[in-house]
Amino acid sequence: MTNSTNFVKSEQRWHHIVLGSALIAEAEAIALQKRSQYQFVLCLVYALYPDINDGRVKPKPRATATAAKSSVKSNKASQHTADAEYRCLIRAVLGSKKISTVIAQKDVNKFQLAYCNLLKGNMDGLKKKEKAAKSKAKVQAI
C-alpha cells in the first residue's frame, strides 16, 4: 500500500481524468498534435491501485498529533482496504503533458477496446511484416 501512495505522491502535477474513455480521447488528441515533432514518445504506466480513499487521487494527509482519533479511523481504513476493490492506475506522458486515470473492474473491457484501437492506430512507425516478400523469395529459390 505504501508503494501505491508513493506513485500517487506527485499526483498534483497530473491532470487526472476520471473516465477512461476520456483519457483515450485526450491521448489521441495529444498524439495527433505532437505528430509533426521529430520525437514522439508516449509513456504508459499501469499499476495496481488499491481503492483506499474511495477514488481519491491526492495523497492522504499525514497523521498528526491528534493521533488518538485518527488511529480509530485508520483501523477502519485498513478494514476497508482489506475487502476493497482493486483498480488499475494508468498514466500517459508525452513531453511535459501528463494525464492519468483509474480503471474500475466494470470498465476494463470498454477501456481495453478503446485503448487497443489507439495503440494500433498510432504506433505506425514500426516495421511491417515482410512475410509476403520472403515467401516469394522462397518460392523462387525452390
Binding site: 509513456c43 495496481l48 504506433m123 512507425g125 514500426l126 516495421k127
Partner: protein
C-alpha cells in the same frame, strides 16, 4: 538490465513477477516514433524486465499481455 530476446520468455517472466507481488509491480510502455521503437518494461523496483521491438506484429502480443495484466489489476481478488 538487459533486454529479453524472445517474447515468450518475456511474457512468462512478466507474469511471474506480477504474481509474486501484485502490489509493487508496474508496467511501462514507451513508444518512440522517430526511432520506430517500442520498449516495454515491468518492474517492482528490484527486478526490471525489459523488451524492445521494432516490428508491428509485436503490438498484438503486447496488447494481449496488457489486457491480461489490466484484468488482473482491476479485479476484486487481492491475492
Amino acid at each position: 538490465m538487459t533486454y529479453f530476446t524472445s517474447w515468450e520468455e518475456y511474457a512468462k517472466a512478466v507474469e511471474k513477477l506480477y504474481v509474486s507481488d501484485p502490489n509493487k509491480c508496474r508496467f511501462v510502455t514507451k513508444y518512440i516514433h522517430s526511432k520506430g521503437q517500442l520498449c516495454l518494461k515491468m518492474t517492482d523496483d528490484v527486478v526490471c524486465l525489459q523488451y524492445r521491438t521494432e516490428h508491428t506484429q509485436d503490438i498484438k502480443k503486447m496488447e494481449k499481455l496488457i489486457s491480461q495484466l489490466m484484468r488482473h489489476m482491476a479485479s476484486k481478488e487481492s491475492k
